[in-house]
Symmetry: C2
Subunit: 369 residues, 2 copies
């Protein structure tokens, strides 16, 4: 089957890597000539935000999917009109890529998400009490396009473009759950992952899976995933990022309509990875079992501050000596501060052992130039 | 690093698939324009038996390795002379690719292997008592180039070319052990695998790992692998195929200087696969841990008798519904009787469960056209 992917980054690369177990042909579209997918797929250099480029790319594929949500959704809708299968469908991509539509989707379907107000421009009066979060309507990614406004003095930093103003959740834990639905309507959910964020870079730092939650909290999450999978009305793999607040209530922070950083430890930590699951969704195959194999965790390898240029992974040989530790690099030649260059997955028999190993590994490596 | 592989078949494909976790460039050489590696590596169509083709292919690589042993070893020796790293080295490839040299290697190093006689042509008198095995000196592969001579009437079937005449072992079990050695001299051994052969096709049918053996038998195997890794004098990953005879004695049947079908279940059955280990050998990195994760098994997907042409995998959707069952196809478009098209790995909690699952899966699938 000819499978086209908008985006040729690491998510696409790991999807193709996983799917090399099967007999499909992968095509990728990315503006960067050296994108991580360029040597392992039929590669087209081009802008996935451009209507005509997406139309030209998609027209002869059996199915078109995405590994980044900031793509031209109108072109995807037109491809659907022309009979090309698009996974997830253009409508849900459009809904999720705009924070305003995404929030309204949660509200319409009674999915708990922090209270919000829509601000179209700087003339709109903000009625949300301080402190609050501002999320740009479009273009947010990897923690960009999100800021916290704490005091009236911070008002001067408010972005002037269309955005969502959201009440600030008093966060106990950040959680994520990866869910999948195929065209036949079959659904499957990965175990819940806890994300421990680095406050400076606002990129994920550690993922830990599974997380043991009270019955009540697990029920709240199950109810959210079930509702989401019922109303989404599209095949797809989605990462639902959640807040657990100090009062034990679960809120949806946001959803990504694609493979997600918070699912990377599933490569070695689960019976099947999110990449295998995504492949099955794209081809409308029976969904894979998602059982955990003990405890698993992940840490991102991001470019260190102060280094730009040809990447050097310091300390990697020592990491290779550690049992049950798995390095995943993304085939990017150039590093820069904060750039996601790879990740390391770790397996352990207990949460304590896992945390110890993750902290140890994090201290061993540095991504420099 | 620029890594060149002679051969572009499924072993190379799974090596590259596994190594996509790292940042190397893979180059493959294969006579078939649609070889399984052709879309996932820098591909050169050409004959790996031809001296000049191998020289041209290898001269600008950092390291050259193989995924098939029937390559031009003289060219590899010359590449070594010119400073190109070759893994495993040309000498051991030459030794192993000729059955006569291989048998003499075992004898010289006191590695137990069935008694043998060298026959250079049909004039040489055979002194080995019946029944015996004849193995062609060169060109044997996948059970080809091997025949059993049982009675004097069978003498007429004797091949006339240079060959090894070997005493027939009264086999209790066929075993295999995959061993690795890097340039630094570090060594690592995978747990022993039992191979259950299909007498008709003479291709592996099931692999089962681990196998529980008496202390005495395990010690014999350990002694063989240790001796082999000491005397081989080359970095490499090797599959040592063993016979356990009815008297509890272990014999080396033959060795492959490369990735091997008997190690495929390591993809999901071990902490790291033979492919990860091979990558580390090629790059002289610390070797990976090889612990088993419960019981694992593999069955080959070979083209069914009577079907040639564009491949159809019958029953595959049902297999995808089974937990802890992993399909691996090789990206070959055309099937023919007996052609290795893929394999399926299965995990289980006991040997009995594993056998049951393997038999069930085998009955579910058929590779037809």
């Amino acid at each position: 089957m000819k499978i086209g992917i908008l985006g040729g980054g690491q998510l696409g690369r790991m999807l193709i890597q996983s799917a090399l177990k099967y007999d499909d042909q992968f095509y990728t579209l990315d503006p960067a000539s050296d994108a991580p997918c360029h040597t392992i797929s039929y590669f087209t250099q081009g802008n996935f935000n451009d209507y005509q480029t997406v139309m030209d790319f998609g027209k002869d594929k059996d199915v078109v999917t995405i590994e980044i949500e900031h793509v031209n959704a109108d072109a995807l809708a037109e491809l659907e009109n022309q009979g090309i299968k698009v996974v997830p469908n253009a409508k849900i991509i459009k809904t999720i890529q705009q924070k305003i539509l995404q929030k309204e989707f949660y509200k319409a379907h009674d999915i708990p998400s922090p209270e919000f107000q829509v601000v179209w421009n700087s003339d709109d009066k903000i009625i949300m009490p301080l402190p609050f979060v501002q999320k740009m309507n479009t273009g947010g990614y990897d923690g960009k396009g999100v800021q916290v406004i704490k005091t009236e003095a911070d008002y001067q930093h408010l972005w002037k473009e269309a955005s969502v103003i959201e009440s600030l959740v008093d966060i106990d834990k950040e959680l994520s759950v990866i869910v999948a639905r195929n065209e036949n309507g079959e659904t499957k959910t990965f175990p819940v992952t806890e994300m421990v964020a680095d406050p400076k870079l606002n990129l994920l730092d550690f993922n830990i899976c599974p997380v043991f939650l009270s019955d009540d909290i697990q029920k709240q999450i199950d109810s959210i995933t079930e509702k989401f999978l019922n109303v989404v009305n599209s095949p797809g793999l989605f990462a639902i990022e959640l807040f657990l607040d100090q009062n034990g209530k679960i809120w949806v922070n946001e959803t990504a309509p694609r493979l997600h950083n918070s699912g990377h430890q599933s490569q070695e930590g689960n019976a099947n990875s999110q990449f295998e699951q995504m492949y099955r969704v794209v081809k409308n195959l029976p969904l894979a079992d998602t059982d955990t194999i003990g405890y698993s965790g992940m840490l991102n390898l991001v470019g260190a501050e102060g280094y730009s240029g040809k990447v050097i992974y310091e300390g990697m040989e020592d990491v290779l000596k550690l049992p049950k530790t798995y390095i995943h690099l993304y085939g990017k030649t150039e590093t820069k501060p904060g750039r996601k260059m790879g990740h390391i997955n770790v397996l352990a028999d207990s949460r304590e052992e896992l945390m110890e190993k993750l902290v140890k590994v994090k201290e061993m490596v540095r991504v420099i130039a």
